[in-house]
């Protein structure tokens, strides 16, 4: 985010609010890459990511005149894009997925089921094209509410505070969700890398 933040200071809010097209084009140029990536990580479909990208900037142009500057421009764009992504997920799943389904504060964190140390696997296994694909698919298995937090925090690198602004959640809710998302992904990655370890003959006899 540091790179984006520095860019942020370069934009003239009065010009953006007045609908200045050249200034808006600069904004699009600066943020379209990250917004496209956010869409890809949220839905894992290039067409959906492109729809999110276009809708985000169409809405941004429409509502810039009302942008009050209390949050940063990037936070504001992330918020529009994340809402677009969540709406699209709801539509795709064709079931009424509540964004709050993962919010139940009383629900305890999942107990880790798989205890297997795969950390020592060679880097080229951990970062192989297949592993990366699996990791992306694992993110898609998170509920939308957990996924949004995980993508913003651990992939886009937003702070807890920025994420709470984007999603309109308390900081403690962001932390809880991030924790649950990470534990869930750890579980999924353990299943995957466990199989890879067996395939490579790296599991010692006696290990579960």
């Amino acid at each position: 985010m540091d790179r984006e933040k520095r860019k942020e200071e370069d934009f003239s809010l009065p010009r953006l609010r007045a609908g200045d097209r050249a200034e808006f084009a600069r904004l699009v140029d600066a943020y379209s890459g990250v917004i496209y990536r956010l869409g890809l990580k949220m839905l894992d479909d290039p067409q959906d990511a492109e729809d999110i990208l276009q809708e985000t900037f169409i809405k941004a142009y429409r509502y810039l005149k009302d942008f009050d500057g209390r949050s940063s421009l990037s936070t504001w764009l992330y918020r529009i894009a994340t809402n677009e992504a969540l709406m699209l997920i709801r539509k795709r799943k064709n079931v009424p997925l509540s964004f709050d389904e993962a919010l139940d504060p009383d629900q305890e964190i999942e107990k880790p089921l798989q205890i297997l140390d795969w950390c020592c696997m060679p880097e080229k296994e951990l970062m192989s094209a297949e592993a990366r694909l699996y990791m992306q698919q694992a993110v898609e298995q998170l509920s939308p509410g957990l996924r949004a937090v995980f993508v913003l925090r651990d992939i886009e690198g937003l702070s807890t505070e920025e994420t709470s602004r984007v999603l309109n959640l308390s900081e403690s809710a962001v932390k809880t969700r991030l924790s649950r998302a990470r534990m869930r992904l750890r579980e999924l990655l353990t299943a995957y890398f466990g199989e890879r370890m067996s395939a490579l003959g790296l599991v010692e006899p006696g290990d579960d």
Binding site: V28, P112, I115, L185
Partner: protein, 85 residues
């Protein structure tokens, strides 16, 4: 092995990995880790999980040129496409 204790620490593991815990709680977790192999593995693999996602995210975002062109067309910004650097 004190499984009750393991379970009560679970909620703090992500914060622990983040370095986001009070000194007191940190020390408590570290004491527990010395005697609990299971939790050590969970922490190590959790940390590695976060590391791997960070590593894949480090690549700059790549937007195909045709996606960019369609975006600029949709926004009626074609005159600003590919400004000289």
């Amino acid at each position: 092995m004190d499984h009750e204790h393991c379970h009560s620490l679970l909620n703090s593991l992500s914060d622990y990995v983040e370095g986001d815990l009070s000194e007191e709680l940190c020390a408590e977790i570290e004491r527990h880790l010395q005697s609990c192999e299971n939790c050590r593995v969970v922490i190590d693999t959790l940390r590695k999980t976060v590391y791997l996602y960070h590593a894949t995210a480090a690549d700059p975002p790549v937007m195909p040129q045709d996606v960019k062109e369609r975006l600029y067309t949709r926004l009626d910004l074609n005159e600003f496409l590919n400004p000289s650097p």
